[in-house]
């Protein structure tokens, strides 16, 4: 993975010193809250309901064991013994004191981490496929490009005060696991007919109050032009994006109002003017960054097949976990493991200090020192020898993280919601927990099959409800929580925005409503191989509406 050079070390150290001074000046009253707020936000510090919240950047979701151990240490020393992994592959601490934050940032800097640009109207943490470098279906590892974008966008003088925040995601595989079509810029790494690497460029996707699917404005951008073209997009946005209305300030609105074709023309004009200038990436620079992400040397471990055959016979739990949470690796003797942070009835994405440390130990011992954070709020060990999977499973059982529910209905994405967040209108975590408990039976979950359920506690959609196969949006109506259900959303290569099915449900009704939706699916699906999403796309809203609301219509 990427290692800081002297410039990076000095830069982060200087930033810690600068923010330490700003915190001191705030605490002594030398600067006001109005003056301090933009400074703290630039360093990832929010004020939430119960305390400050610190959002720490995990570039493209990649961690080594030393870093994860430090995240556990921070949870224990400065917080309340846990952290929350987010849909942007970051981690948030919910309880730090402002006076402790300089020390936390110092600890983070010691393991090459920081909280810069995790808030504010700038280019945020660049996200990527969590199976990058391991996935069998990958054309190229997307992380070198994400790292190039990170270096370019860090405190970029021209793009630090954009009309609104800006999010970039990169995938290196046809199967999009990074939800690139709901990002401001989505990059799909691909090869052209000549075998050269480049990108399909999507722009103007996003969720929030106005969900939009990104438009493809370039089918093949040579890799050398990555920064030039990105600059061209950002310039058009910076110039024409709306600053008069926060809710219309994202690039998706500009692309929508301008029209994708005209927007692409403007980008092209800017690109032509910039092309072959200083931003053109020299081949040797790309390859140099790529070397940081060179795959570990995976020695042959052919004994895995026999080991797994025997272990399966020995343990049904292991066998189920293997089928659900382990995916094919590009090397036949290895696998990528999803560590579910969605134990039945647990808060999605939360991990305790000791769990983080135990996972760091596992990564060090069995996983070539690599851990990933997925945007689905799970942790990943991307390279584990199949022969070691049983040992990893046994260790995960010991720390209560062996739930075999990856991609099943209890693998729920949920934002912190009204239990923590100052923006939220309704709770999310408790809704997730209740649904998780209702569908606790693993047998039932497997019978239902792949089902992505996503919950947001407000219209900002941090819980990605728009792209949930089943989405739940919490709102406040007449002082009470109300949950709107959307069906048919998807955040993959066939992205779609879910459709509202009808009137919302109260906190005591929402679990039953979800069960009704699921039971309806089981009734209408053509056979066990037709997923919820496929069935919904085939039959539409009608049977679900009927099941949820028919009684009411008759009563009325």
């Amino acid at each position: 993975m990427y290692r800081y050079d002297q410039f990076d070390h000095d830069f982060v150290k200087a930033r810690v010193a600068e923010f330490t001074d700003q915190v001191d000046r705030r605490l002594t009253g030398e600067i006001t809250e109005d003056q301090f707020k933009p400074l703290r936000l630039m360093n990832g510090v929010y004020l939430q309901l119960h305390a400050y919240m610190l959002r720490v950047a995990i570039p493209y979701g990649t961690l080594n064991s030393r870093q994860l151990r430090m995240l556990g240490h921070i949870a224990r020393k400065y917080d309340k013994g846990y952290g929350h992994f987010t849909t942007r592959q970051n981690i948030q601490y919910n309880w730090p004191s402002l006076s402790d934050i300089p020390a936390i940032l110092g600890d983070l800097a010691s393991v090459e981490m920081h909280a810069i640009q995790t808030s504010g109207n700038c280019i945020r943490n660049v996200t990527a496929d969590h199976f990058a470098g391991a996935a069998a279906d990958e054309v190229a590892d997307p992380r070198p490009y994400a790292e190039i974008l990170r270096q370019w966008s860090s405190v970029h003088p021209e793009f630090s005060y954009l009309p609104r925040k800006f999010k970039i995601a990169v995938t290196g595989a046809e199967r999009d696991r990074a939800a690139i079509q709901v990002h401001d810029i989505g990059l799909h790494v691909k090869k052209n007919a000549e075998g050269e690497l480049g990108f399909a460029v999507y722009v103007g996707g996003g969720q929030g109050r106005t969900p939009m699917i990104a438009k493809k404005i370039c089918d093949f951008l040579p890799e050398k032009d990555l920064l030039t073209y990105s600059t061209a997009i950002l310039r058009v946005y910076n110039l024409h994006g709306r600053r008069d209305n926060k809710y219309k300030a994202r690039i998706k609105i500009l692309v929508h109002e301008t029209g994708a074709e005209e927007f692409a023309r403007q980008v092209e004009a800017e690109f032509t003017a910039l092309k072959d200038g200083d931003l053109k990436l020299p081949e040797e620079d790309i390859r140099a960054i790529e070397r940081y992400f060179a795959p570990p040397s995976l020695t042959a471990r052919p004994e895995g097949d026999e080991a797994l055959r025997l272990a399966r016979l020995d343990s049904r739990g292991f066998s189920e976990w293997l089928d659900q949470n382990v995916i094919t690796h590009r090397h036949a003797d290895y696998a990528a493991v999803t560590i579910s942070l969605k134990g039945i009835g647990e808060a999605p994405g939360d991990a305790s200090d000791s769990q983080m440390e135990a996972i760091a130990d596992l990564a060090e011992r069995y996983g070539f020192d690599e851990i990933r954070v997925s945007h689905e709020q799970n942790l990943i060990l991307p390279h584990v020898a199949r022969a070691d999977l049983k040992a990893v499973y046994d260790a995960l059982v010991g720390i209560q993280l062996a739930t075999a529910n990856s991609n099943l209905i209890t693998d729920i994405i949920a934002c912190p919601g009204l239990d923590y967040c100052a923006l939220a209108n309704a709770r999310s975590i408790i809704v997730a927990q209740n649904i998780s408990k209702r569908f606790a039976s693993m047998e039932r979950q497997r019978e239902i099959g792949e089902l992505k359920l996503k919950i947001s506690g407000c219209i900002n959609a941090c819980g990605h409800h728009h792209v949930g196969h089943i989405g739940i949006l919490g709102v406040e109506k007449k002082g009470a929580e109300l949950y709107q259900v959307t069906l048919g959303g998807s955040g993959d290569e066939n992205t779609s925005v879910g459709e509202i099915i009808g009137r919302g449900f109260g906190p005591d009704e929402i679990t039953d409503a979800i069960e009704t939706v699921v039971d309806t699916y089981l009734r209408v699906r053509s056979d066990g191989s037709e997923t919820f999403l496929d069935a919904y796309r085939r039959v539409g809203q009608a049977p679900f509406k009927e099941a949820l609301y028919a009684g009411e219509a008759k009563a009325a």
Binding site: L27, T32, L49, H50, W95, L98, D419, E481
Partner: protein
């Protein structure tokens, strides 16, 4: 009826303005304003505390009295006064539990 709430500058803890003009970590200590005049006094005290850099994000919130307890009308404020509803071991509710078990 209203009380004045804020977050303490140093650690962000949710606090309420008490009768002695201190900021209490318990809503039970909050001064209740039942008239415009008291609301005005609360607001002025909040402005002064902001200017003194004691607290941030000061708000007057609606409450009701239930069995002698001060209970905010909005769920958001009830959660601020107690802690996350999914973790009774966190927030002020945890301190209350700890206090009772002592």
């Amino acid at each position: 009826m209203k009380v004045l709430t804020a977050n303490r500058l140093t650690d962000g803890e949710a606090v309420w303005l008490a009768a002695d003009e201190s900021w209490s970590a318990s809503i039970d200590d909050a001064v209740i304003a039942s008239d415009k005049e008291t609301e005005g006094w609360l607001s002025a005290a909040g402005d002064a505390a902001c200017a003194d850099n004691l607290v941030v994000d000061v708000n007057l919130i609606d409450i009701e009295q239930v069995d002698g307890q001060t209970v905010p009308i909005r769920l958001r404020e009830r959660i601020r006064a107690a802690g996350p509803t999914n973790r009774s071991d966190l927030g002020k509710q945890a301190k209350h539990h700890a206090g009772r078990s002592d």
